[in-house]
């Protein structure tokens, strides 16, 4: 992977409320279809974008293995500083990524549900006849709302936080 300038290392966000920093969707050619930051993480847009780029290398490796793999859920892609990136790739080579703060709280079942719901929302989005298929960015209030709902579902209720 490409080296990064030193100031990009270790962007730990103080007082971040949520576990989820960002959700991204990439097209067949890895073009950016969707990139959304949450809460306090919004202050470090460039940093999280760089994490997406780092993940693309890992995703390309997954593509090679795709033929033998039945599962669209790719799971844990790579750790970067205090963050973990999880991925999911459809048979049409559309990829979904979620960047979470390093935590043992998230279980595979939760992430599988998350990606399944995002995938379903994406399919619904494509069903809109006004949406061009050639990989433009996703502009849809319905899709945004579903992403928010699923990001919220990843957060534990406040009562259970230490």
């Amino acid at each position: 992977g490409a080296s990064r300038p030193s100031w990009m290392y270790g962007k730990f966000i103080e007082n971040a409320q949520g576990v989820t920093a960002a959700v991204a969707a990439l097209g067949k050619e890895n073009q950016k279809l969707y990139f959304r930051l949450f809460d306090e993480y919004k202050s470090e847009e460039e940093y999280f974008e760089s994490l997406v780029f780092v993940s693309i290398d890992v995703l390309d490796e997954c593509k090679e293995r795709k033929a033998s793999q039945q599962d669209m859920y790719l799971g844990f892609l790579c750790p970067v500083d205090e963050y973990q990136v999880y991925g999911y790739m459809t048979n049409t080579m559309v990829k979904f990524l979620v960047i979470v703060a390093d935590t043992n709280r998230l279980q595979e079942a939760e992430l599988r549900d998350f990606f399944r719901n995002i995938h379903a929302a994406f399919v619904d989005y494509l069903m809109n006849p006004f949406v061009p298929i050639d990989g433009e960015t996703i502009k849809s209030s319905k899709f945004d709302a579903t992403v928010e709902k699923n990001v919220a579902a990843l957060e534990r209720p406040a009562a259970q936080k230490p």
Partner: protein, 195 residues
Amino acid sequence: SKQRSMSSASSNANARLGEQIWQKMPKMNAEFFTLTYGSLVVQLVKDLEDVQKVNEQLEKMGHSIGMRLVDEFLAKSGVTNCSDFAETADVIAKVAFKMFLGVAVDVTSWNAEKTACSLLLYDNPLADYVELPVNVDLYYSNILCGVIRGALEMVQLRVEAYFVRDTLRGDDVNEIRLELKERIKDEMAEEYRRE
């Protein structure tokens, strides 16, 4: 005293009839239907560029469909004569919309002369998954207005049907205003009677 437009007993009978025929109608995949109509609208938008022309074209296409569909409707439903326009509206709402689109439609907002009313569609299968581009003055489901107009023309009623509320345009419900303009005199029938 205010007369009710349609006795609830007759309206319920129409609703039951609509449900019965709907059960027997052959069905098709909902997504394929939605995508087919959607690709038609998008193609019209690309070809015609002027949104008002698209609205007109959708209505025209609907008109052609309605003229043909009414015979299918009459054959399958067994509905014969409607005694007044209120009954016509109820039959359209409870029988026709149910058997062809599988949706329940309410008739409301009658004017004093009983020549105009509103059809409320809570569910519109044509518009599933659709989000209109911003600032586009498109009546996406305008084909439905044409279908109503064409069908009623074949039973000697000249009407105007147009959307006043549309969920795709931000309203909470779909409302088609239906106005009876005139009963079309059958010229041939008059001549025949004279002879």
